[in-house]
Amino acid sequence: MNLNYSDEQNMLRDQVLKFCETNYDFTDREKILDSDVGYSPENWKQFAELGWLAVPFSEDNGGFNFGPIELTVMFEEFGKSLVVEPYLSSVVMSGTILENSNYAAKQELLESIIAGEQHVSVAYAEANIGYNFLDCVTTLDGQGNELTLNGSKTIVLNATNSSQFIVLAKHADSLALVLINKDTSGLEIQNFKTLDGQTCGELTFENLSLTADAVIASGEEAIALFNQMIEVATLCISAEAVGAMTASYQKTVQYTKEREQFSQPISNFQVLQHRMVDMFIETEITKSLLIKATLQLDSNDSEATKTISALKVQVGKAGKFIGQQAVQLHGGMGVSNEMSIGHYLKRFTVIDSMFGNTQHHINKYSTL
């Protein structure tokens, strides 16, 4: 057993930390969110130049052969500054599916993602299936080069900026993952801002024609690729949550030291001290499950699925508690949109809602 990060992993953490310190204070972030695209293309270019977009990919596909450990290191730092660049949707979600698939055109696609030339989003959620993404209604009919896609997908992350989509669809008694271009006729996209200032979209497919080379995977392979992607993505947003928790309790401690009431810093009051200790403890406890899940996923441990559900439960509960208490201890300032602290609460709320919320994962954990 070895729970120490390697020098290389620590260097990566320092690099992301430095980037965020330099480029990502709260006003920088506000400007990014105000832009039409909802992220900074300049930052994305830097991510590519720093090699960050290549992190999880194998050397064959132009990557660094890194894995879950490095991803969580990065996401923890992203979470501290509430980074909005679409790393999750393009690199983690689309990337994981492509990397592990036998798709003929995957190398070219991954190269363009790694170079920062294009965004690709995964379309998996639908209106009436909750978190049971595999029960989708969107259907791919036909065979060979005469395929037709009908249905709709919702909450497609970063849809505004993506030039291609990987769509999960029902196909011949099973499922398939297909790649479609945003310009394909029969595709309609409606874009939304998200609660935390990012973007997502709804995709509608009406008799959208596809040929065989659009099929990334089908049957058991498609299901396995999809489930694996959801696990890695869940792990990444959990790491992001841990970073956001760390920042939330630290900012709260700092604020209570500066804020004076009754002629003294409010950090002198024991009731606030103990609340902040609870926030600290929840952060550390979440970090423990994060590390456990990361290492299990990294070593292909069969228990990883169960631990990831446990982690998501803890992330949901702790994020809610820490987010709410951070706002509470900031007093009126906590509910002001001009302060960063409330934006952490928004992010915790979004993270809990993604890939199965607390209740969903308690139930899933019970069945595993």
Binding site: N2, N4, V253, N268, Q270, S288, D298, A310
Partner: protein, 389 residues
Amino acid sequence: MDISFSEQDLQFQEEIRSGLINDFPAHVREKQQKGESLSKSDMIDFHKFLYEKNWAGYNWPVEFGGTGWSPVQIYLFLNELAAAQCPTILPFGLSMVGPVIYTFGNQEQKDRFLPDILQFNTWWCQGYSEPGSGSDLASLKTKAVLDGDHYIVNGAKTWTTLAQNADWIFCLVRTETTQKKQEGISFLLIDMNTPGIEVKPIITIDGDHEVNTVFFTDVKVPADQLIGEEGKGWTYAKFLLAHERFGIAGVPVCKVQVAKLKEKTAAYKDADLNKKIAELEIDLMALEFTELRTLAAIAKGGHPGAESSILKIRGTEIQQRISELFVEAAGQYILPYEGPEGFESNKNPAGPDYASTSVAHYLNFRKTSIYGGSNEIQKNIIAKAILGV
């Protein structure tokens, strides 16, 4: 990073496991399996068994007769003990006074006391809290006045666990009234058979006699039973608290308890209860890995200090939640109650077999968030040491 245990560690685990299967005293095992309480002689037999296996000094360095095990080995050892339904190792000799003696005692004291602690020839108890000094421990008033080659001790210690069985007590006593109250405290070892000592039982809300008040009236204690220097007792006490971090969370026992809870309630198919058990399991998994992180930090040469307060707080909260769930599962059948020993044989009332013992355990375990520095005190420690407020 790597989550798996080394071959060497797994082999170690196997040795402990087979040692327990072959040599763990059968009469103790049987009582443990039935959930019956252990007698004084059962406890002595168990600890002597540990000594015979060379396991007694599981957290001691080799030079004092300990095992010199790594933190991971200690973790595995304690897990195996719990899985085999061993009683909890009494901490007072092996984890508390022993390390203080081998760290701060003189050679004569080491020779005199350490072998008996390892062999469990002496049963130790802890004289810290007083009727007027709980969380504010440094306000303690039990006085020791040097008179020639003896100290004369007067005062009272309370919440003294199993003092009724003890041969010796280690005490924090006031040898000087100083401006800073911590500075006048000394660490004294006292033979429980010394004239002037009276042990008075305190019956806890579960009906058990586990704790006591120990009164000292003109008790003559040889001066060579003072550990280290006069006035340095507070330093030694703090050292002791930091040393007692292994197993502070009680994870191995919790794991066994949760497994038992699941086994006993599986037939109920109670969705609400099962959901609570799932949440408990998740919290326990997180706590266990937090403990492993702490062990990893120690193995790297770090001193977790205030972080071990997390283990105390979370561990005791989870222990209490488990005890609550047993009570919840037992429902109305907790009402018939004749004390922690359970019912006379053949006179069992209706209801599940765990009903009576679980409510006793529930009441008894309210103590866990109070003892060893109450959870509120632990939060004060974290606030000061880690958050800097």
